[in-house]
Symmetry: C2
């Protein structure tokens, strides 16, 4: 049936040398251990001809490594976000010859424990703990023993774990600047949160930081937020009702929606009373959800860089893994403890913003 795997012993026999010799040559340590050119060539040729591939399981047993990373997230399904994050992580890992174990906890602590245990049993070399939306999480205890990185999450307790998150504050600034650059200075309203910093949904890091950035950029330009409507949940229907409510008393020239789903609702509210985007009202938003480019006119939005977040998490994890193997890790540990990496959120300029006519 399936032909037996070619092992190191097969290669050694074919080359007429011992197993350790073949191992030394193939691991590139032949030179330093004075293996002769002749033997080296014979081993390499034999390996080539037999199509030898080392059994990673075996290497794993001996060396304690598995060339594998565990990716544990709270949930993959609720949003499309995860796909791109995983994809970025996947590719960055693959480039280094690593594979990814995927696991979901559904927010269940017990499940999380079991999952981390299962990964530990398989000797993963590192862990990525991902959240599907940026928030503070309680770091589980079971992760000591392997390097780990938080992705799209910040630790609730102080920990030495690095975190990779989108740069939401800068995103807020950028959204505001999109409007400022188009000449908007008056009648800019917010939908989803604000106008005060405490008017945000609980638990949402994104809301707070976006708001901070928006206020900062507008403030620097000497522009004031004309008003705002909060949404209990950032879904289209709440965007619709919040915008509808706003339109009863105000005449906005520009809206900053806190995400694309809210913007979708805003589009509809504006359409209902015959206002055109962007001729009458410009709209800028956040996330770059797939619908953003399906909406008409296409939505200008500040993108969550999921793919890049995934890649970055792996990059950071690899530097962590190197630190782990080094001997004087105490120094390194204390130096790098809990570093936070912010990944820039790019503006996707589309069709929902037009120059202010004022």
């Amino acid at each position: 049936m399936s032909p037996r795997r070619v092992t190191l012993a097969d290669v050694a026999k074919a080359a007429g040398v011992s197993r350790p010799t073949a191992s030394l040559v193939l691991s590139g340590r032949g030179r330093e251990l004075r293996i002769s050119q002749d033997v080296e060539q014979r081993v390499l040729r034999a390996a080539e001809e037999l199509q030898y591939r080392p059994n990673i399981v075996s290497v794993g047993l001996r060396t304690g490594t598995s060339r594998t990373i565990g990716f544990v997230s709270d949930t993959v399904a609720t949003s499309r976000l995860a796909g791109d994050m995983i994809k970025g992580a996947l590719e960055a890992a693959r480039e280094r010859g690593f594979m990814l174990f995927i696991g979901e906890t559904e927010g269940d602590a017990e499940l999380e424990r079991l999952l981390l245990q299962a990964m530990h049993d398989r000797q993963v070399d590192g862990l990525i703990l991902a959240s599907m939306f940026t928030r503070s999480i309680k770091v589980p205890k079971g992760i000591t023993g392997a390097p780990a990185v938080l992705l799209n999450a910040l630790p609730k307790q102080p920990t030495p774990l690095p975190a990779v998150i989108p740069d939401e504050v800068e995103a807020g600034r950028r959204a505001a600047r999109v409007l400022l650059d188009a000449g908007h200075r008056d009648d800019i309203y917010l939908i989803g949160a604000g106008p005060r910093l405490r008017d945000v949904p609980t638990q949402s890091v994104a809301a707070v930081e976006r708001l901070v950035g928006i206020r900062e950029a507008l403030g620097e330009a000497g522009v004031k937020v004309a008003g705002a409507r909060t949404c209990p949940d950032w879904q289209p229907e709440y965007g619709l009702t919040a915008t509808r409510d706003l339109l009863r008393t105000a005449q906005p020239r520009a809206l900053i929606c806190f995400n694309d789903r809210i913007a979708m609702g805003a589009y509809q509210a504006l359409d209902d009373i015959g206002l055109k985007v962007p001729a009458d009202v410009s709209i800028v938003s956040f996330d770059d959800h797939p619908i953003a480019s399906w909406m008409r006119p296409k939505l200008t939005t500040v993108a969550l860089p999921h793919y890049e977040l995934g890649r970055k998490a792996v990059d950071v994890l690899f530097t962590e893994m190197e630190l782990f193997t080094e001997t004087d890790r105490d120094r390194a540990d204390t130096e790098r403890a809990g570093e936070v990496y912010r990944v820039p959120m790019p503006v996707r300029s589309r069709e929902s913003v037009s120059p202010s006519l004022a």
Copy 2:
């Protein structure tokens, strides 16, 4: 730093027995090999107290298994589909104590080869080859040696591999029946494909099968398709233009859109000329994309059962894996060769269909 793992030797020592004895007890073969109650209890207690967990890597080396499944897809990111498929697979696997390796090929054959190799190197116990939209794929050669299942894909060449796909023909029937049950018999148009069976985008299994089902159910009721417009690609903009084109010459009472994105375009085309959904035109669609429930009115659609597909693939894979281990596999193999499992697509009844007033 990280405390060394508890090994079987530790347990044996704590229980005052030899390593093999501990192994026998813990693998449940103690009874048949006449291990005394006393020893059995001591071993179990020691294992419990030390929190012993077998190192799966080690077991893998000895037994050739890894309690791991490889999930190889062409791409995860293009649509949100993958998320739920993976989620279903993930949960089904976890229930059996298995983990999932995820890999993406991007449709690149070389990458696929490398990925399958990497999985093989890690001794995966089985493989799921997934496609993000239902289609025929060329089965790679590298998969012999491990049980495998095609997910959302059919083999181009005849192979002994089972396949798990959504039941699109039945979905077509169901979509048609939604309209028939609402009393629609006239002026039913199709957007995306048809009216003839050859008017479909190439490579799309879904298009053909949905169309077959639609025609079948309508035919049985003695109803004829009033007309159709094809779309070069099933995106909102083409749905918009196709519907717009249709509306120039026809007055549909009901539309069957071949997917939700097309339906999104159709909504807009209808809105543009002041027609209301569902009062003037009923719409039924396919996929149950997230936007389906964001659209106003909410879209009635026949859902792609991604989660169930993922689960089913794992179920089928496990029966394959059992066959693989059995001795008389020849008989079993020939019997079950290339079986195709169709997962039902459920109707999500929402707001876009109203009774015909005719």
